[in-house]
Amino acid sequence: MQDWRQNKLVFGVLLLPPTAWLVLFFTLPLAIVWVYSFGKRGPLGETLLAFSFDNYLRAIEWINLSILLKSTWIAAVTTALCLLVGFPLAMGIAFSPGKYRNVLLLLVILPFWTNLLIRTYSWIAILRTRGYVNMTLEWLHGKLDALLGLFGAAGALGKFQPLELLYNENAVIVGLVYVHLPFMVLPLYATLEKLDKSYLEASLDLGAGQWRTMFSVMVPLSLPGIATGTLLVFILSLGTFLTPDLLGGPDSIMIGNLIAQQFGQARDWPFGSALSFLLMYATFIFLWLKAVISRREGGVSY
């Protein structure tokens, strides 16, 4: 690595254009939002510059704080589910014979390359009242009823009640897990693949069973991958907007939706700006936590 003074011309030429772009079209917009977050809302929704903490105080009012907390809860459940499903999946791929590994990995990534909107929207047809799940259940119900009819107990099951699977928190979680699973599997796979298998063999040789080996040896050794995957899924789920918008109901509004509303119908840009910054601060806090944890783990970074 060169010191910049050794080649100031090249350094300047390479550094200036991208930095200028990012300052102008990234930092400046964020700065404007930051200033707006201290502003006031005019009677018909214009933004008036002011210096007031009202928006932040309003953001931590229970009605809004509860949305942030609910978002955190949904993000946490999503992350846990992704971990639960992703770990065995990553394990299966990492420990597969070499030739299958790339194919399996590709199969996991492929859906990820399709558009987020489409992937989320596709769940509507599955979860709605007359969606694939309910129609299958209805069909099963009918068959079961017919079967019972043979025993003279037709109608014992009563009328079929479709499950309420869409427009609620559960639908949002399903959608989020679906969209973020690859983000969990890939870092886990990367860690598991590089794992020194001799540790596992040693553990088995020493008499620990499969499960004990998995939980006492494999999981702790794959902590960096778990940390990366967990962080990625959690942060992405926390700030999500599209999934609760399409799949959620009146009870599952998340912080991303609340922010979007302020810049749309509600026409309260100062409040939306404050919320937006709170979300960013929350993201940074979690990132910083991760950095602290990984530094304590002995600097195994990803």
Partner: protein, 291 residues
Amino acid sequence: MATTAAAGETAVKSVMRRRKRDRATPLEYGRKGWVQLVMVASFIFLYFPIVALIAFSFNDSKRNITWQGFTLKYYVQAFNNASLHEAFINSMIIASWSTVVSTVLGTMLGLVLHRFQFPGKNAFDSWVHLPIVIPEISLGVAMLAFFARIGMPLGLVTVTVSHIAFSIPFVAVVVRSRMSGFDRSLEEASRDLGANEWQTFWNVTFPYMLPGVVAGALLALTLSLDDFVITFFTSGPGSTTFPVKIYSMVRFSVTPEVNAASTVLIVVTLALTVIAMLIQSRTGKQTVGHG
């Protein structure tokens, strides 16, 4: 001695493998029953929604609830849909400009971060990676506020500018990661042999960098084509992109035409991805050959 021992070991192992082919060794988790179950279930989970969506794009039913017969008419409708056309073309225009500019700027950034040490580099490094970690919604509303503040009407330009801004760090990361494997002594050797700065760059550094640049460019292309949230906040009439147009269709009139349009987008993105991978594997092989 060690080699003969190793050879003997391999021979024994291969014999054992041939005899115990059906029983999985303790570490072959990929062949354990419960893991396989999870894997199969996961893949069904991952693919069923998309497959169902594509399948029902051929459904001859406006409501698209039950299967009523095979038809291509919604694809015809989608192809004749003038606003979908315009959205598609807009997506292409924006993605092209965004890819070109962000690849150039991102490569420059990646090079500078890889090669130079300067005061405040750590802080600069974190700042430059911010667009990657910031929630998209925050970025989207910030761009909206910015363009409103400077009085710039929302259109193709505002969307493209925003796309470039969030793509630059991604390209920089990819290029920098590629360059981390670069052997600087090659550059020094080239200069020792009399080449000047530019010649060294063009003949030594650039060929090595190229796969990283291409990978970064393809990443920028996909990011731009697929982007929804940021485009949603920075587009105006006449500058709707394909994903934003599909969102509007999903919000309002949901017929199999939405499925058809979605399938088209899936096919386009997948095709680009496959091309990306083919290019990468081929250039990767070339560079390996040259060392």
